[in-house]
Symmetry: none
Subunit: 368 residues, 2 copies
DNA sequence: TATTTTAACTTGTACGTACATCATCTTCAG
DNA sequence: CTGAAGATGATGTACGTACAAGTTAAAATA
């Protein structure tokens, strides 16, 4: 590599601009044609110079818009990229999660990255092990679905350690408020609200809610459910909320059964997800009641299960695969020093209610 | 980065030579001018291709003497254990696969190994990319679910190269007969037989079969289906078998619909899997027929879907999570030099028929 | 005003040429 | 037989052109 070759000179000049602070991180540098005029060299030479700087991580190019100064050159500890992204999930076989994973994998592989996976089974001790593994694996970035996010997390120090190692991470579905990391989540409160509002507008008054209490998603959906009651000035009634945890699902379903057998049975039911909705649907069938005739049911997640049954479930939908793609996109952008549009690290997806056959209007006079 | 650009093609071809073992570490590759003639492109394009590969660490150049294959790969042969196991699957969000993955992950993490995942979407080109990624990732072992296993596979050389690098691999669900690798599979032929025999013993004679034709699982299940007809000396009838591929599922379901509308409609239906069974169930409902009243349906996989519907599906069950655990166990045993008890590298799981509500006995008078 | 289309500008790919620089093998002189 | 000069062929630098493809903002249209 000749020291006095033209492209080296151009390279060094541009590098100087960056080091002197004339070009700040994220800012656009001169276009190739401008550099051609400036230095009086050919475009090929300019591209060669820029190519080296891109390779070394000083710049990045964006097709059609320009060449920019990289963001993370300051504390660049010269870790060589392993092209591995870690992903920690709660349940691997959860019926909803594969679509997120698929989105992540799709984008990662298109960018030449690989995916290292681990799952916690919603156990905090296991989460700790996963984080330890990831830290020892030389990953470039980490995507985490937090475990038991509704309670305090003892593994905070690991996440802080990630920051010290300059490994970007991002949380999906939920996030630990204590560290307020970049996150992609669905507005579950709104989702719960939409589901409940739907039944209220259909004239239902006695609407039962069953929610999972050991993660934030469940807690938030429940909030939305309660909000809807408040907003429509509906009275609360006893036993209107059933909560369950990973360990107590079965017995709580049995509880629902006895509630449905009582004569004061509810006319509507908001479920934490489609899986629970189907469990309840089974109970309803065994009691010789009909859906939506005797009971309207709303699910959540709009999963494959929602349309598997004879009664297609009304369910709250959210962009699962898209969230995976976005997560991968953001983590890679951060790794490669690209700045995302408007600086915001996080995004909240709006849920949407898909009305199918499992809910119906109550034919009472009270409905406007 | 256009995938079909010339320099990418040249790059991939050269990378192939390395990964297939045609060019060994330290060896000189063709000179730029030779490559120009070989590919019929300009020298600039060749240099661009080589530039990328040098950048990625596959090659290095020596001014005046030539371009050589990096010996970074050589260090991998006497590599220290990375404690990484690669897993290549077809569909990540397939409703059946998560349980296998869960089994794999469970055992791997208990043994301190990590899981690197990639999926092919049942596309052979993508499988090639996945294998390339895995080969370049320093993995200790590889678990593969083969892609389009019913047709010839163009990626054989990659598997052979794995052997050269002393990386054990194992196939699940299906396997390429050409290389006869260690494999864990379900006896799908028997599964298809069991399902069909069940309907025959219930007095059915006109039994339709719908199978996926682009993977071996489908072909084998179909074999079992045909075997059952032979064994029970039942006559074959026209249109008794419908086959579909990944791309043509929808239209074939429509075909089933018209068969069911005809007056000579079948009384039984053997489905490739539960997903198809549910699709057909939807069609049956829309025709105002009843299951199992007018039509008995048998699914396959005994998945979550089988019990999601109001008519619980009779389905063929097989040990999904167990297969994952076994796969992980065997691959790690091989890595760590442990010998497995009975010497056999492969195992065939016996499927089991779970009889539920979607099938019923035909009373003899109705049977013509 | 809001939306669509167009034009201008950006980087990406691909071809061509010429000569410089370095390593290696061949040839020839000693 | 040995050493130096030269021929050959490899990569490195540098110039040029042309068009493709993506982005953005101005201009035209509804």
């Amino acid at each position: 590599m000749k020291e006095n070759s033209k492209y080296i000179q151009v390279k060094n000049q541009i590098k100087d601009w960056i080091l002197e602070g004339k070009v700040k991180p994220g800012e656009k540098i001169y276009s190739e044609n401008e550099l051609v005029k400036l230095f009086g060299v050919s475009r090929h030479t300019v591209r060669q110079a820029i190519g080296v700087l891109v390779h070394e991580g000083w710049l990045y190019r964006e097709h059609g818009s320009g060449t920019f100064c990289s963001n993370r050159l300051l504390q660049q500890t010269k870790r060589e990229s392993s092209k591995n992204i870690g992903v920690i999930t709660t349940y691997m076989s959860d019926y909803i999660f594969p679509s997120i994973i698929r989105g992540i994998e799709q984008y990662l592989s298109s960018q030449g990255y690989s995916l290292i996976m681990a799952s916690t089974n919603n156990d905090l001790e296991k989460e700790k092990q996963c984080l330890q593994t990831m830290l020892s694996k030389n990953i470039d970035g980490l995507i985490v679905e937090p475990t038991k996010s509704s309670s305090a997390n003892p593994n905070i120090s690991y996440y802080l350690n990630l920051e010290q190692h300059n490994i970007p991470y991002l949380m999906i579905n939920q996030y630990y408020k204590e560290i307020n990391p970049p996150h992609l989540v669905v507005d579950d409160e709104k989702g719960g609200f939409l589901a409940t509002e739907h039944l209220i507008q259909y004239g239902h008054k006695k609407i039962l809610g069953i929610f999972k209490s050991d993660d934030l998603q469940g807690v938030n959906r429940m909030k939305g459910y309660i909000d809807a009651f408040r907003k429509y000035n509906l009275p609360f009634f006893p036993d209107m909320i059933v909560t369950y945890t990973t360990e107590t699902k079965e017995e709580k379903i049995a509880e629902i059964r006895s509630l449905l057998e009582g004569k004061e049975r509810p006319t509507g039911l908001i479920c934490y997800n489609d899986d629970v909705a189907l469990s309840v649907l089974n109970v309803v069938r065994s009691l010789n009641l009909s859906v939506p005739g005797d009971l309207s049911i709303v699910g959540y997640d709009d999963s494959q299960l929602a349309t598997a049954s004879e009664v297609k479930l009304t369910s709250v939908s959210h962009p699962k695969t898209q969230m995976g793609i976005d997560a991968a996109k953001r983590i890679i952008a951060k790794i490669e020093g690209k700045s995302l549009e408007n600086g915001t690290d996080s995004f909240v997806y709006e849920p949407e209610l898909i009305v199918r056959e499992s809910t119906k209007k109550l034919s009472s006079k009270i409905v406007t």
